[in-house]
Every structure is written in C-alpha cells, then in structure tokens.
Symmetry: C2
Subunit: 277 residues, 2 copies
C-alpha cells in the first residue's frame, strides 16, 4: 500500500522536497501548518508527517518543538537533512533590468539581502507568507522576481534568474518525520527527549541530569532550553543523545532522569542521518 | 547630555516601546536591522542599541545571538522584559464587517490565527515585513485591518478594533541594550556567556563545563545550543548564570571554562530584570 505523507505545504516548499527524498513513491499531501500536519498523523489521515525542526542559520523551529513537547501521541521516526538553496525566480522572458519588486518570506529575504541590494538596489522587497506563495504571487506580475527553491520554479513554471543567492554557505535544514511510533534500533541511532524540573533556580539540577549520560559514556549532541510558554525563565530542556532508547545504558540513564523531573518525554529514537553521495 | 539609543525600527515596533520604557528622555533612532543597530553602537553613532533577544513563544532571536557571538566590541548592559500585546487595528471609521484583508508579519499572524479565523473567516491574511509596516500599509486601504501594537496605532493614526487578540497568554519579549561596556555590579546580576569546544562529540565536555558552576553553587538559569553556521552538529553554547563576572566564585568558574574551550566570550554582566509595579 502506498504510504501517505503529510507535509508542511503549500506545494513547492522545502518540506515537500524533503518528503520526496525520503519516499519518492509516497502520496504527498500538503497541510497549511505544522500543527495541521501533526493532527493529520494523529488522526490517521496520514502515516507520517514531514516538518522542519532546525535550520543551521535560523535555529530551532519552535512550533515543531512545541508539537513534540505537547502531543504525546507523536514520535520522531526519521530525521532528514536538506541543503537549502535560494534561487531568484521570475516569469519566463522577464529581464533582470525590469525587476522592481522581489517577493519572499521575510526569513528568505533576510538570508539573501546582500545579493538583492547589490544586484537590484532599487527593487522593493515584499513579504509573502511562504517562499512558495511568493513564487505564485510573482507569477501574476510583470515587474517582479521571487526568492524560492527549484521545486517551486518547476511547479509554477518560473525561470531561474540566479542560483544559490544566500549570504552564507552551509544553509541546511533538518526535517523530521512524525509518526505514531519511532524507529526500531539500527545500530547508529539518536534519541531526542524533553524534560523540565519542578523546582526552578536550583543550581545543579540540569547538570545532575546530564551527568546521567556522561557518567555512562553517552554523548550529548545537543541541548536547548525552550521557554515553557507560561512565563520567561521557566524552561523545558530538549536534548539529543547518541543511541537507541532500548540500549541498556541509555535506558537506565533515561529512567534516572525521569525520576528527577516534573515533566519528561522521549520524543523518539531514530537512525542518525547519514550523508549520502 | 541626552543619551542616544538606536533601536530595531521602524518606529512603532516593540523595540521602540522597550527603549522608551528604559529611558524616556533618550533620543531614539530607528535602524532597519539588528546588525545595523549593532553597527551604530560599534561606531559610536549611538550610546546603546535596543534589540530583542528572546520571545516566550517564538524562542531565541538568532540574529541578536549571532551579533553577540561574533561582535567582540559589544556587551549586554541591561535586559528589559516587555509584555507583547497584539491589537487589531484599522483606519478610523472602518467597520469590522468590511475587513477583507488582515496584514501583519507572518509571526504575528500565526500568533493571532485563532482570533482572525473565528472573527474574520473570509478575510485573507497578507504578509508584511514588520508589524509596523503592516499598519502603515493597511492605512492606505479601505478594506483592511492589521495586527500591530498600541504604539503603531498612535504613530499611524489607526483605530483599535480589538485588543489582546493573541492565542496564548504570557507572550513576553526580552530585549537587551547593547553597549561598549557591560554594567557594574548591583548585587542582583546575571552574566551571559558563549562558548564552544574544539573536539566535538566527546561525552562530558559540556557537562564538565557546567559543573564549574554547579560545584560552586552558581545557578545556571538558561542554556541553549546554536548551530555554529558552518554545518549542523557543531554548536556554540549560550548560557545565563546568576551573579556578576567580577564575583570571585563566578570569575573562577569562568576562567576554568575558558581553559577548556576553543571559543569563549563573556557577553556581559547586567542587573537581573525586576518586574516593576
């Protein structure tokens, strides 16, 4: 049976491209927001949901973290890493000299500001709700370009005026596939968890928890604190560690940490992303 | 002499409101981006610069963290915490029934999506580069509303159709004032630092550093990892601890940590924010 994958739409986003790389034979269904993707998986409408979790320039995608923290029915079953390349797109035939406006999501505009200001000093930057929406909007005008990805160019029939126009190299986004269950052990796994303490502001609580990993030789590859939403200063910690939650040493460390926490949730164990090619 | 404060513009942003609360007698100068504010302070054009560093719903403002990590001439000299209230604004006289479009920055639209969909089910949401730009744009149209703050309503002469329309309570933003020097000790201080290790993926490096605080009874109030920008998986850690960098115990802990790091920078010691009123 064909797998049905929900993704953060509209068509032409980087999430769609990540979903295609993950499973080219899946049926891909766009949803208008990260929590809508989560709801599609929760309700069985989709077998998995592809959402961004972290960008190397912009940091964490907080909406995805919040879904993982609060939605106990979902787990991470796969991570995918996609290089993000911004293209300057326009209607076929439009000359660069005729570009008066450049559309995109504010984040994409910010990442390409240097290029746009150098090459189109008089163009006005115009915000759109997504890079895909920017391309769609641009295609209705005769004086505009848009910053978007290659897939949006294909879908909307746009021409590539310039490629790889972002300021900094190494712009990659990590996506995760949300599903009802995480992944069985493969021998090269990662485990993500979220936890919080009831007593705030007591020195050593976080360090004590992290020592459960280091004392067992378990590498902590990432730690992040996220405001709990009630008020600044009360944090939920998100950590990635090496190994699968069923590995005996990691299982023991997780159990010890859970005992010290007021909130504790394993977000999933899944294969560590391996760069292919 | 009047203090000159740069802030993240345009006029009518929350950064301007934070700057006004910090020093009502200062001369306020808007700059178009966070790095432009930093450059204004670096070059002596302004005595201080007010930029957002963290929002309780959205998380860290990564551009500000990057400025602090990379610009060795700047320090945090004050933190300010501002409650964020979103208002639905329109041209005076416009009836709610005539609203066909709602303008704002995509983040503000996302935070108010529930209200907009409930009360204006047929209105189109339109992206703008900032909430202030959204209000300015909306004022030129007879069928639109915008999500913005109270100050933007005053500046652009807009009317408040609805107040406090965001989904979740407790939306606060922490701002910092960047300056050439941090703050002398007051007895109730915080210190922010950034650090990274040369050897990656070795268990216990981060925990070892944090133990320098916990073993001295110093509370760690925040920890965050930020992709270094080169590639995902290489992180710079950002931490907030209690105390001033000149306190003997904290000074000793910072020295020990610096010895273990390939990158180390004290971002500043400054008074802990006290809620007034």
């Amino acid at each position: 049976m064909t797998r049905r994958l929900a993704f953060l739409g509209p068509r032409g986003t980087n999430a769609e491209e990540a979903a295609l790389r993950y499973d080219p034979s899946a049926e891909l269904v766009p949803f208008p927001g990260i929590s809508a993707v989560a709801a599609a998986v929760d309700s069985g409408m989709a077998d998995g949901g592809v959402v961004p979790i972290e960008n190397s320039l912009e940091g964490a995608v907080t909406e995805t973290l919040d879904v993982l923290i609060h939605d106990a029915k979902l787990a991470i079953c796969i991570e995918l890493v996609l290089p993000i390349e911004h293209f300057l797109l326009a209607k076929p035939g439009l000359k660069a000299a005729d570009v008066r406006r450049v559309y995109s999501h504010p984040q994409a505009l910010a990442q390409c500001r240097g290029f746009i200001e150098r090459c189109f000093p008089k163009a006005e930057m115009v915000a759109a709700l997504s890079t895909a929406a920017a391309v769609e909007e641009m295609m209705q005008r005769d004086d505009s370009a848009a910053v978007g990805n290659k897939r949006a160019a294909e879908i909307y029939g746009a021409e590539v005026l310039a490629r790889d126009i972002q300021e900094r190299r190494g712009n990659v986004t990590r996506f995760v596939v949300l599903a009802a269950n995480d992944h069985p052990p493969t021998g090269s796994d990662k485990t993500s968890l979220a936890f919080a303490f009831a007593v705030e502001d007591r020195p050593g609580l976080l360090v004590g928890a992290l020592e459960e990993f280091s004392s067992r030789g378990i590498n902590l590859s990432k730690i992040e604190s996220r405001p709990s939403g009630d008020r600044l200063g009360t944090y939920i910690f998100l950590a990635d560690v090496d190994g699968h939650r069923t590995d005996p040493a990691l299982a023991e460390a997780l159990e010890r940490i859970q005992e010290q926490c007021s909130y504790f949730r394993i977000l999933g164990s899944y294969p560590r992303y391996q760069k292919s090619g």
